[in-house]
């Protein structure tokens, strides 16, 4: 395991800028998640580190070594692809053994066998080792794909939305497993996703990518409670952050220049009151909690409420802000 640094990396494809001046250090043993919408340049960033693309500008070092011009095979990275992960003509066992059989490594068969079985157990696929890789369920395929990276002990694991094709339950399961495995191995891992829950639950640090730029990087807590701008704030939080014009609701003491106020559930205080300044427009029952849709004049808000809150559609309420987030006209955060 090793430290990986990107310094001012840029990459364009013809007219489209994919990655724009990204600098980032992934410390030894750290789990960094890059979070961004589709087309943000997440995959391209990983491919640049792996050597599948060459950057137009910038420097990449892996374990202190500048890898400019180095072939992918010599960079000592492992990659889990977004899709097409398994070799269809090989069994699960052969898929897992494939990286170990590479001419660059030349391990003994016994050594390979031991490693394959160990990893198969780790990703819980040891009962299907002899299956054709095309005869697996989506979740099993993804385990094997992750396993194929784990059989090696590279400087860094690069994972490109490895869980995105799975259903919610499996995703939650594998999320935990992956975090557990990373802890056990003390692995350095750069993980790419557009799923904020994955980012929040697994990351030591989250990097927010938007249109090729690294907008903010920090611990999940920092990113959540101290977003640098509107874009970052909008990426995290369920339900989405409510963006309101300054002055709509009472209870804030906005710094000068505030244009927009960002209010998540924890920034809103509700009390039943007539006439009040807001009205319950709709209630979505999710079981463990409710989504309240609230109307304030022209504006609509969504917030969470616990299911015991005695409130109904059409009720009038008093809505107050409590330490919300303030943004200026350009969307930058004000404190």
């Amino acid at each position: 395991m090793a430290e990986v640094t990107l310094a001012g990396i840029s990459k364009t494809f013809g007219q489209t800028g994919a990655v724009d001046n990204v600098s980032l250090t992934i410390r030894d043993g750290e789990f960094v998640v890059l979070l961004g919408p589709t087309g943000a340049g997440k995959t391209t960033t990983l491919r640049l580190i792996a050597g599948l693309e060459a950057p137009d500008a910038g420097r990449i070092t892996i374990a202190g070594r500048d890898v400019a011009g180095a072939a992918p095979a010599t960079r000592d990275v492992a990659f889990v692809f977004q899709q097409y992960s398994l070799y269809p003509h090989l069994t699960v066992y052969e898929n897992l053994a494939f990286p170990l059989r590479s001419p660059a490594r030349r391990l003994h068969d016994a050594e390979i066998d031991a490693r394959v079985r160990e990893v198969a157990k780790m990703v819980r696929i040891d009962h299907k080792l002899q299956n054709r890789s095309t005869r697996l369920s989506g979740g099993e395929m993804q385990r094997v794909a992750i396993g194929r990276a784990l059989v090696r002990k590279p400087a860094i694991y690069l994972m490109d939305e490895p869980l995105s094709s799975l259903d919610a339950k499996l995703r939650a399961e594998l999320r935990l497993e992956l975090k557990r495995i990373q802890n056990e191995l003390g692995a350095t891992l750069l993980y790419v996703t557009h799923d904020q829950v994955e980012a929040m639950t697994m990351a030591d640090r989250i990097g927010i990518l938007a249109e090729g730029k690294l907008v903010q990087i920090g611990s999940p807590r920092e990113i959540y409670s101290n977003p640098a701008n509107l874009h970052v704030a909008a990426r995290l939080g369920q339900p989405h952050i409510n963006l309101l014009p300054q002055g709509l609701l009472p209870g804030c003491n906005a710094p000068a220049g505030t244009k927009t106020i960002g209010a998540r559930t924890e920034h809103l205080e509700i009390s039943a009151s007539t006439p009040g300044n807001a009205e319950i427009d709709w209630i979505e029952h999710l079981g463990d909690q409710n989504h309240l849709h609230i109307k304030v004049g022209e504006h609509k808000l969504v917030t969470l409420a616990d299911p015991y809150l005695a409130i109904q559609r059409g009720d009038r309420i008093d809505l107050k802000l409590r330490n919300p987030l303030y943004f200026d006209a350009g969307g930058q955060r004000l404190t």
Binding site: P72, A78, F79, F81, Q83, S102, P103, A104, T134, R148
Partner: protein, 317 residues
């Protein structure tokens, strides 16, 4: 039936539909098989039976056609034939009954061997070169790739015979006339364009992530190509090989023009059998029957790949 049976329904076809489809397929098969069956039957007829009218469907089979195919014979007086010892083989016996003796082997096997060497040699070369070229076009940014691909295809736009004269003159200058090497090069040149186009389609369908994964895992591009791309391209390669082989095996025009002796292939040779002693249709039919065998075997061996190949990768897995 129900509304679910729309134009795009994936419902099993009804029994009647299946039966009608079956009848059509069988009819078509019969129509295409009749000439083949005819040739096969003729090869076992005696020369008089082979030209009798109306044609005989029931006849006494004889190996005369095959004997005549493989041998050259000379006419002798009955007295001379009487004076010989007992016949050495069935062919000996048949030949003597026609007042002839076997003079030696015919040129059939040497010509057949030429066909094998030239057809398989050029097929191998065309598929080998085609696979590499197709991989290159599929995976790398080749300057003017589209124009090059069009140029490669354009070599197939005119009938090959249109360039026969220039090639004839060229080959005479280069000393390639009537050589196996010359024919292999020629058929390779004709087939490689087909091979590049077919194989590019197949290789385009193999996601490049597979090779990239292998390259990250410590393989060079060439090793990744061999271990990951080739195994997945076997379907396409097999289908391409059959198309190339069928062309090279059956090619007649160039073969007539460019080969006459030592490198002559079967297609120009078989018709010459007729000349050796009258209308020897059974011998011609025997030559044709044997000529069909290699393609038949090759096609049967690769039929699964061929079937998939004809759909051009539409149904993978």
């Amino acid at each position: 039936m129900s509304s679910a049976t729309s134009a795009h329904s994936v419902v099993e076809p009804s029994a009647t539909t299946k039966r009608i489809a079956g009848i059509i397929v069988v009819l078509y098969a019969v129509i295409t098989m009749v000439p083949l069956a005819w040739i096969f039957m003729t090869s076992f007829k005696s020369p008089p039976d082979s030209i009798s009218y109306p044609p005989k469907v029931v006849f006494t089979p004889t190996l005369e056609g095959y004997c005549n195919l493989f041998t050259t014979r000379t006419r002798q007086t009955p007295e001379y034939i009487q004076s010989l010892g007992p016949p050495q083989s069935i062919c000996d016996e048949i030949t003597r009954s026609r007042n002839m003796v076997i003079a030696g082997p015919s040129n059939y096997w040497p010509r057949f061997t030429n066909s094998m060497v030239i057809a398989f040699g050029s097929t191998f070369l065309a598929v080998f070169l085609g696979t590499l070229a197709a991989y290159g076009f599929s995976r790398f940014r080749v300057p003017l790739a589209d124009d090059l691909m069009f140029f490669i295809l354009s070599t197939r736009m005119m009938p090959p015979i249109a360039v026969a004269i220039p090639i004839y003159l060229m080959y005479r200058e280069l000393g390639l006339s009537d050589t196996a090497l010359g024919m292999i090069l020629l058929y390779t040149a004709v087939n490689v364009s087909l091979a590049v186009w077919l194989l590019k389609g197949f290789i385009d369908e193999i996601p490049r992530e597979y090779e990239e994964a292998a390259m990250i895992d410590g393989y060079t591009r060439l090793q990744a190509f061999r271990k990951v791309v080739l195994p997945q391209a076997t379907t396409g390669i097999a289908a391409t090989a059959i198309f190339c082989l069928i062309f090279a095996w059956n090619e007649y025009a160039f073969a007539v023009l460019l080969t006459s002796g030592s490198a002559q292939t079967s297609p120009p040779f078989i018709p010459t059998i007729i000349g050796e002693g009258g209308m020897d249709w059974p011998a011609v039919a025997a030559g044709t029957t044997i000529f069909l065998v290699p393609i038949l075997v090759f096609t049967i061996l690769l039929r699964k790949q061929l079937l998939r190949g004809i759909t051009f990768g539409a149904v993978r897995k």
